[in-house]
């Protein structure tokens, strides 16, 4: 095994998980199902019993997380377990955090649905942490001594290579699940305010996250497609779920039509790749490319191009971005937070898994570099990244609606992440993971503040509506400012570290022009964020009637908790980026272990 790892070639047989590997997925699906079932019972209970049920979700979460941890742990066929002490301590700590958080949230008058969804997300996160622990032990047993940084070993697969689990898929799934936890807290008060309270949104969000987790770990093109569709179809409905607002319906329809269009492209690309390589399985495609010279080169190229179009739509890369501003403006604000964090993370996970890993460099049995198809797609991603960076930053400035502005800004962030994908190196992939994780928390925080500020009907989202926010809600204004500065890449926030890593990776990959353009784009978008901040602090409300509507901007404790967590992550890991950096480095797929 040591020889295999250090030689870093593609093994023909990958180690297999039992069902435990799928536990995050199963937890989300069961959670979604249970929420529908339990909810109808809970709602019939008297009010005090309902409160009690809500409070009980916290301890129940801890209990289930503990049991799941026990079930998932040590399921690895490779596991070379010395002792479970580390896991036990981890579980204890986790349980303590959950008890405190559960009691805290439960006393804040949050609804049953939101707490249940957050709990499910936390249990799935616990399963992921356990898998991560296992993977560490299995990939580098203690007798090998100190584990080299970034060497996590080959992916462990489940269901006959249909899913592959490595550091990369686990971290990406972790980001998606964190988004579920935070967005559930944001949705709670929002749904009640908009009078569309019900379990639908939460169920769809959990199903969507399940799709995202599948995408992050897909080992087969068809599995990738199924994950993408599960993710997207749920989000189409979530975008349109505010059925009394015509903007919401319109956003849903636009997202649906363009999303279906793009999945058809993705699927056609998959068919062509299948025709060129003779397999739909990513692992087999890699083996094939490493050992055989492809004759149907045109078919492979066309397939790669069409898959790039399909995934480009999902991550909103220019010129496939046209749906983004409309959908972000029209969809319910907490749903936008979910789209910008989880959907984007899943999209980039798929991009990395297909392009960087499968069509990246690999060594064949004899240890020679073979099947390096990077040159086939890197130029295309280069062009996409340049366009995305520039168009996103420039068009953001001319908008008047804050949600539209942030939509364009999310496009330019996608450009940044594409720069990391284009590098197609170990460092580039680590930078992608870091950026995706950091951006998820920033953007959830930003849209979290907007959820509170936009008021009933999501109507107050123009730049003028933010005028004088600092005078009315100083704390909220400060939080928004910090999130926007983090997005701009100001030092001492995760945004700065993320941008730094991306540009470092681009320079290392000798894509100097891309690095320059990324920096120019960062400067241009800084203007946009400062414009919003100026309006928050220096603008004066257009008329006094805004102020008299005071209670509209009340921060509900659950939403406040979500914003607070996002803020703590953004600043905390901005000051001490070490832990996330370490996580991102260890999440590099095995392929790049030797750089």
């Amino acid at each position: 095994m040591l020889a295999q790892l250090t030689q870093n070639s593609v093994p023909v047989e990958l180690p297999q998980y039992s069902l435990a590997g799928l536990s995050p997925l199963i937890i989300l699906a069961v959670g979604a199902f249970l929420l529908i079932m339990v909810r109808s019972v809970v709602k019939r209970l008297p009010a005090t019993a309902e409160r009690f049920a809500t409070i009980a979700v916290g301890p129940a979460t801890v209990l289930v997380a503990w049991i799941v941890g026990g079930l998932v742990g040590d399921e690895m066929p490779l596991a070379n377990v010395q002792s479970d002490v580390g896991t036990l301590w981890f579980a204890l700590l986790f349980a303590l955090v959950l008890v405190v958080a559960g009691l805290f949230v439960s006393t804040m008058r949050a609804g049953f649905d939101a707490i249940f969804t957050s709990g499910t997300g936390l249990v799935a996160l616990a399963a992921i942490a356990e898998l991560w622990n296992d993977h560490h032990r299995a990939a580098w047993p203690a007798e090998f001594g100190e584990r080299p940084v970034g060497l996590l070993g080959n992916p462990v697969t489940a269901i006959d290579d249909q899913f592959s689990f490595d550091g990369f898929s686990l971290v990406m799934a972790g980001v998606i699940l964190s988004a579920v936890v935070l967005c559930a807290l944001l949705l709670d008060e929002y749904l009640r305010r908009e009078r569309i309270d019900g379990p639908e949104m939460y169920v769809l969000m959990m199903l969507s996250a399940a799709g995202g987790v599948v995408m992050a770990g897909a080992g087969d093109l068809i599995v990738l497609f199924l994950g993408l569709e599960t993710l997207s179809i749920s989000v189409y409905i979530m975008a349109a779920l505010h059925v009394r607002r015509s903007e919401s319906l319109e956003a849903g329809l636009k997202y649906f039509v363009l999303g279906a269009f793009s999945s058809a492209f993705l699927l056609y690309g998959m068919a062509l790749v299948y025709g060129a390589t003779g397999s739909l399985n990513l692992h087999e495609i890699r083996l094939h490319l490493a050992s055989v010279v492809i004759l149907k080169d045109a078919m492979l190229l066309a397939g790669l191009a069409m898959m790039l179009v399909g995934l480009g739509f999902k991550v909103a890369a220019v010129p496939f971005h046209t749906w983004t501003p409309d959908v972000y403006q029209g969809a319910p604000t907490p749903v936008v937070a979910f789209m910008a964090s989880a959907v984007k993370a899943a999209g980039f996970a798929a991009l990395v898994r297909v392009f960087v890993v499968t069509f990246g460099p690999s060594l064949n049995d004899t240890g020679f570099l073979a099947g390096d198809y990077r040159l086939d797609w890197q130029p295309a991603v280069f062009v996409l990244a340049v366009l995305t960076l520039l168009v996103g930053a420039v068009l953001a400035i001319v908008q008047r609606d804050v949600k539209r502005m942030l939509a364009y800004s999310s496009i330019s962030h996608a450009g940044f992440i594409l720069v990391g994908v284009q590098a197609a190196s170990a460092r580039g992939t680590a930078a992608v993971v870091f950026y995706v994780a950091a951006y998820a928390f920033m953007v959830i925080g930003t849209f979290g503040v907007l959820t509170v500020v936009s008021g009933p009907g999501d109507r107050k989202t123009s730049l003028d509506d933010l005028d004088g926010l600092a005078a009315r809600r100083p704390a909220l204004a400060l939080a928004l400012t910090i999130f926007l500065l983090a997005q701009a890449g100001v030092p001492l926030t995760t945004g700065f570290v993320a941008k730094f890593e991306i540009i470092g990776a681009a320079v290392e990959a000798r894509s100097f022009w891309l690095a320059v353009i990324a920096m120019v784009s960062a400067v241009v978008s800084a203007f946009l964020y400062l414009r919003i901040v100026l309006s928050v602090y220096l603008g004066s409300p257009a008329d006094d009637s805004e102020i008299s509507e005071g209670p509209a901007e009340r921060v509900h404790p659950a939403a406040g908790l979500a914003i607070g967590i996002a803020l703590a992550v953004t600043i905390g890991f901005g000051l001490i980026p070490g832990p996330i950096d370490q996580l991102a480095t260890e999440a590099i797929p095995q392929l790049f272990a030797s750089g």
Binding site: S246, Y274, D326
Partner: protein, 101 residues
């Protein structure tokens, strides 16, 4: 003229292009859904013919998954159209334009 596998691929490309162009040109949401179906079925044709050519069963199996997903997409799409038409009859894609920058 012999009907080789390549002709099925040509058919598939033709179907896909008709679907894609139709989706971009037509304004009726229902026709747009039909165009998406056409594109997905074009993929099915190429999966089947490539699977036959490669003598590999996974291409044929992929078709089942695509069919299921296509059905699910139509369910969601029609639900959206119904929801929009409840608010406003005879909506075409041009009428649905509250959102613009």
């Amino acid at each position: 003229m012999e009907l080789t596998n390549d002709w099925y691929l040509v058919l598939s490309v033709a179907m896909f292009v008709i679907g894609a162009v139709g989706l971009l040109v037509r304004r009726n949401p229902l026709v747009m859904f039909m165009c998406v179906e056409l594109m997905l079925n074009a993929v099915n044709v190429s999966f089947v013919s490539l699977g036959t050519e490669l003598n590999d069963v996974s291409g044929q199996i992929a078709v089942f998954f695509v069919l299921v997903v296509a059905a699910v997409e139509v369910v969601v799409g029609l639900a959206l159209v119904v929801a929009i038409n409840r608010r406003r009859a005879d909506a075409t894609a041009d009428d649905i334009s509250v959102l613009r920058g």
